[in-house]
């Protein structure tokens, strides 16, 4: 597999082999526009998937086949358009040169899945439907799925932001004030490590509604890592930064808000990432057992009806949803921590 993200552009062999005068070579380059052969991988993979599906379509739901062909048609059409446009559009060429092999491989993986499920029937139905029927469920049930995603997003955002807000405040207090550290640390050490999902029965009794219980569970799951990492970041602020600030005439609020918190930012972001991971888990579990909406609920509901196509459809949405949220947090991190030298890439 050629998955290296380098830019190899095919140049006319003339330019590479001989070394003509600069003017001539410039003219030739202008004539033969740069072109990435990797743009062809996607149309080829689409064609392979389409031919395969055509061969196997007789045994499948004709509606699903129609949807799958439409999907392949859109992907194939777009990829041909990209292959034609890329000589004239540098950003597009870079993108397709980078993403072409990956997307083609994903399409081929779909074909392999189709051979295994619809072709050879190697896996038992109804647990392993073919890609076409998963796509069909995704399209035909899109309104419910959209509604569920929206509810999950609301719940996640509310719970996460609440947890982060409380976590940063408690973390700063525990990290800065010795008194807060003395009383807060034991609570943090005892309550923090309890898996939040174990508190679900309790939260359902205590909270006035299932939504509030789900939000507070997500918030609690986020609160612990954010508090822990914020507190350690604040208390590990380099003493010399604080000394310098003091000799510059800094007040205590300057020391906390302009020195300790910025210095702790890399740590705080580690807490935010850890909290985001546990918030996904808590969200799905809370939706499954408590709130009767959201993607977690949808998975359980579809499984109850043995509609595994819907289960996979929801998993696809979850993957896209959670990785988008993760990307947003990484972008925010890159914005806030521009001053850091090397940072982990997402």
């Amino acid at each position: 597999m050629n998955a290296l993200p380098e830019i190899n552009e095919i140049r006319p062999p003339l330019v590479a082999a001989e070394a003509p005068s600069p003017a001539a070579s410039a003219a030739q380059r202008a004539h033969a526009r740069p072109w990435s052969w990797k743009a062809l991988l996607i149309p080829v993979a689409t064609a392979v998937a389409a031919v395969l599906h055509w061969q196997l379509s007789k045994q499948q739901n004709p509606l699903a086949t129609k949807v799958y062909f439409q999907f392949l048609g859109i992907v194939g059409g777009a990829s041909v358009l990209i292959a034609l446009l890329q000589p004239f559009w540098n950003a597009l060429r870079k993108w397709v040169n980078n993403m072409g092999p990956i997307i083609a491989a994903a399409l081929l993986l779909l074909s392999v899945a189709e051979i295994i499920t619809a072709g050879l029937h190697l896996l038992p139905l109804p647990y392993f439907p073919s890609p076409a029927s998963v796509l069909f469920e995704l399209i035909s049930d899109y309104d419910v799925l959209f509604d569920c995603t929206w509810h999950s997003l609301l719940l996640l955002t509310e719970g996460y932001l609440l947890g982060v807000l409380i976590g940063v405040v408690t973390g700063v207090c525990i990290g800065w004030f010795p008194g807060a550290r003395y009383w807060g640390m034991p609570i943090l050490k005892v309550v923090g490590p309890i898996p939040v999902t174990a508190l679900i029965p309790l939260s359902m009794v205590v909270a006035p509604s299932t939504t509030i219980s789900a939000i507070s569970l997500v918030a609690l799951a986020v609160w612990f890592p954010v508090t822990m990492l914020t507190a350690s970041g604040i208390s590990n602020t380099r003493a010399s930064y604080l000394d310098v600030a003091r000799t510059l005439g800094a007040s205590r609020s300057y020391l906390i808000f302009r020195v300790a918190i910025p210095a702790a930012m890399p740590n705080i972001f580690i807490g935010l990432f850890m909290g985001l991971g546990t918030s996904f888990l808590t969200l799905v579990v809370a939706e499954t057992v408590g709130v009767k909406s959201g993607l977690g609920w949808y998975v359980g509901w579809a499984q109850g009806w043995a509609e595994y196509g819907k289960v996979y459809a929801a998993l696809i949405i979850m993957a896209a949803f959670f990785s988008t949220v993760m990307t947003v947090l990484f972008k925010a991190r890159d914005r806030v921590l521009v001053w850091q030298k090397g940072a982990i890439k997402w």
Binding site: D243, R246, T247, L248, A263, W339
Partner: protein, 263 residues
């Protein structure tokens, strides 16, 4: 010996019978006597350097003057005011520039004004200070893009923008290469001469001490004491290889017991 300057921004500094003990990190019942009955008077606008082997308490003395630590015994005064805590009138520059890595060079230099809440009135001075230390082209750069000398110049500008009455320098040039160091010595002298800030300058480098200071304080360790104070009466600018310079250098090495080769 006073500073050859027209305007004197600096204040005098008095250290009276100061002692400081630290608990030993290994044995909690034992104490290390970092400073033992140290007294020192610095006149306004004077540049005094402190030399001595490590462990002689010179950094401790500087932290006491900065107000970051409190003495066990004795008193410290700036002008007519006793030192009770850190203040913007006593700037401090460390060997590590300690620029705030999350701020750009410009924001670092501004930070003293922000800390005192006077940025709005004095914003125009920031450009002046960046020009003063030759960093105006790097205003938007983050500290990790700077070389050691540039970072130390930014740290100097950050300390100077508050117009400190006393500037404390704890081996500020120790981490720089020899050529950058000599250039920076001239820059510090230029700033000192133009403003008349009182400076207390810790160094390991005897040449640096002779080249820059009005007086050299020699300290000895365990317990940290002032061994003697030497007036440097050479005319400025000083010639690093003049006979008097080398003579003085030999004397100081003698006082520090490095005068003779091992026989």
């Amino acid at each position: 010996m006073t500073a050859p300057t027209a305007t004197v921004e600096g204040s005098s500094l008095r250290v009276c019978g100061v002692s400081k003990q630290f608990a030993s990190p290994t044995d909690p019942t034992a104490c290390t006597q970092a400073l033992d009955n140290v007294s020192l008077e610095v006149t306004a606008g004077e540049l005094v350097s402190i030399v001595g082997p490590s462990g002689c308490g010179k950094s401790t003395l500087l932290r006491l003057i900065a107000g970051l630590d409190k003495p066990g015994l004795g008193e410290l005064w700036v002008g007519e005011e006793p030192i009770v805590g850190p203040s913007a009138e006593r700037g401090l520059v460390f060997q590590d520039p300690n620029l705030f890595p999350w701020l750009t060079v410009r924001r670092n230099i501004e930070s003293g004004l922000v800390a005192r809440g006077v940025l709005r009135d004095k914003r125009h001075e920031v450009d002046e200070y960046m020009r003063l230390v030759g960093l105006d082209a790097f205003a938007g750069a983050f500290p990790h893009h700077l070389s050691g000398g540039m970072a130390q110049r930014a740290a100097l500008a950050r300390a100077l923008i508050n117009h400190p009455k006393v500037l404390l320098l704890d081996e500020p040039l120790g981490a720089l290469d020899a050529f950058t160091r000599m250039r920076m010595q001239d820059e510090v002298l230029r700033l000192w001469e133009s403003r008349g800030t009182t400076m207390v300058f810790i160094t390991h480098d005897i040449d640096e001490a002779i080249y820059m200071s009005d007086r050299i304080v020699i300290m000895t360790p365990r317990p940290g004491r002032i061994e003697r104070i030497i007036d440097v009466t050479l005319d400025r600018p000083r010639e690093r290889s003049s006979r008097e310079f080398l003579q003085l250098r030999g004397d100081i090495l003698e006082y520090l017991h490095f005068g003779h080769a091992v026989r």
